[in-house]
Subunit: 352 residues, 2 copies
Amino acid sequence: MADLVRVDVEEARALCVAAYRRHGVPPDDAARAAEQFILCDLLGIPTHGLRRLSNYIGRIEIGGINPTPDIQVASRLPAVAVMNGDGGLGTVVASRGLEEGIRRAGENGIAYISCINSNHFGGNASYGWLAAEAGMVCLSGSNGTPTIAAPGGKTPAIGNNPIGYAAPGPDGRHFILDMALSIASRGKLRAARDRGEPIPEGVALDKDGLPTTDAGAALDGFVLPIGGHKGYGLATAIDILSAVLGGGGIGTGIRHQFKQPGEPSNVSHFFLLIDPAATVGRDAFRQNILDFAAWVHAQPSVDPARPGRLPGEAASARLARNRTEGIPMTQDEYDRLRGLADGSLSGVIPTS
Amino acid sequence: MADLVRVDVEEARALCVAAYRRHGVPPDDAARAAEQFILCDLLGIPTHGLRRLSNYIGRIEIGGINPTPDIQVASRLPAVAVMNGDGGLGTVVASRGLEEGIRRAGENGIAYISCINSNHFGGNASYGWLAAEAGMVCLSGSNGTPTIAAPGGKTPAIGNNPIGYAAPGPDGRHFILDMALSIASRGKLRAARDRGEPIPEGVALDKDGLPTTDAGAALDGFVLPIGGHKGYGLATAIDILSAVLGGGGIGTGIRHQFKQPGEPSNVSHFFLLIDPAATVGRDAFRQNILDFAAWVHAQPSVDPARPGRLPGEAASARLARNRTEGIPMTQDEYDRLRGLADGSLSGVIPTS
C-alpha cells in the first residue's frame, strides 16, 4: 500500500467544497455534501469518503447528477414526509432529508422521511453519526440497482441495500452500524480474481444462479446475502421503506451509477428517527445506554486485548484520532482532491 | 413424523381460550393470547403457535407469568408510548402494544411503542400480519436472554433477538419476515447432536468462544449470528429499540423462560408502524407494492417451478389453506390442547 499522508480536516473540507462549487453546486449544498465525505473519512470508511468525489463530479459533468436540484418536501402529517431530490447529489438530498427528520422527530418524538429521486448517498454511517449527535436513535437505509437474486432466482431482483442504525453514546462515542446485506462486497471478489484465488463457498452465484467459488464467474453473477433468505428479506424491507412507501424507483427504474452515469440513478433513502426525550427522557436514556454498553464490555473475550464492543466504538475512536491528526489518504488521492478543487482535473467515473 | 390431524380453527381457538380462562386470564386477554398462537399456526410457524400453550400455562401455574397484569401506558407525545406489561403473557402485552401502536399510527402517520416488563411474545409474524391487515408497514422485534457473544467474546452478550417486518400485500397476501439473527437455531444443533452428526463450520462456537463443528460442544457454547458482526450489530439494534429506549431489562436483568420459568422474564418488544396513507396515500402505495411484487416475480428462477418471491408469500398461501382445512397438528398435540382446556393436564415447561 502506498504511504499515507494526513490532510487537515478543514483543508480537506475546503478543497471538497471548492470542487463542488466549481461545478455549480450552491454553497450550502456544497458544505452538506462535503460534510458527508469528511465524516465517512473521519470514521474510517474511506470507500464512502472523499475518494468518491471524482466520481460524483464526473457525473455532474455529464448530467447524471443535478447540481442545482429543486428539492421539494411533501408532508400530510407532522411526523412523516417524502422528499423529492430532483436528481441532486445523494449526499445533499439525504443531508436535507436527515435534517428535516431530526427537526420533525424533535417536535413529534419520532419521524419518518423517504427521500426519492436521489443519487448515491455515500454511507449510512455519516447520517447515523449526525443523528446521534442530535440525540436521536436512527434507522436508515438506501435502495440501489438490483444485484441480489431472490432465493432460487437467476437474475438480480434487489439491491445490496445498505442498512444503518445509530444511537447516541456516552461522551460523543456513538453507536453506529452501517452494513450492506451481502456476505462479501464485489470489491473483495475483484481482489480475489486479480490474485487468481478462489472465493469461499456460499458467497456468490454464477450468472445462471448456481454456486461458484470462481471469483470471475461470481463477478458475472451475484453476491449472496447474509443468512440467505434472511438477508434477502431485509433487503426487500429496505426497498419498501426507502422507495415503495415514498413512491421512488425500483427494479429497472433504478440506473447504475457507473454503468449509466449520465442518467439520474433514481435511488431512494429513508430515515426513521426516535427521540429518547419522548420515551424515557434523555437522562434516563443516557443511563440505560451506559448500562447496556457496560454489560457488553464486561463480557470476557477470547483475546483479553480485544474486548467485546458495540458497533461503532472502533469508528468513534478513529474519528477522534483523525480529527486531531488529519484524514489519512494516499498522495495520489490528495493530488486528485486538489486538482478537482482548482479545476486542473475532471471527474473520473469507475467502470465497475 | 406422526400423522397430522387438521383441527378446525374456531375449535382450536376456543380450546386455547378455555385453557387460559381456567388459569385466571381475563376473557379479552385470553382471546388476544389465543389469536397470536392461532395466527402463527395458520401462517405455518407451529414453533410459535399452540405448541407453546403448555409452556405458557406452566409458567402461569408457578408464578412466572402474571395472568392478570396491570398494564400501563406512558406517553409524552401522541406518536410514542412505552407500555409496562407488568409481567403478563407476552402475547397479551405485545397484542395490546401493537393495538396501541396501530391506533397512534393511524392518527399520526407513524408510531413507536416499546413494551417492557413482558414475557415471550411468540413470533413477530403474527403481529406483522395484524399490522398489515390494518394497512400498516411494521418493523418489530424482541430482545431475549443473551445467547450470542460479541465478536471475539466468550460469554453471551446479546439475545438471538428476532426481527420482523410486514407490509400490506395485494388481496390480503401480506409480506412478512420473521427471523432470528442466528445462522442456525439451537433446535437444529440439538437435532444434529441427537443424530450424531457434525454441524457446518461457521455456525457456532464452543464454550471458550472457539469455532467448533461438534454439535454438543456448540450447545454448551453459542450460536453465531448471520454475517458475523453484521448480525451481531442488528441484534444490538433490537436491544436498543426494544429495551434501552423504553427502560426495559438487558443482560442479567432478563430471565430465561425455561431455566428460570418461575420468574418474570422481563423481556421487551417494540413496534414501529408507518401508515402509507401519510406518505403517498393508500391507493398509490397499493399500486407501488403491486409493481414491486411484479418486478420480483418477473425475474427468472433456476427452477421455473420455484419462482422468486417476497418474504411471507409462502406463509400467506399456508394461511389461506389452513383457514379452510384446519390447523395441522399431531394427535398428541391435539390431546394436550384439549387436556389443558378441560383441566385434566397441567402445563409442562421444557428443560431447554
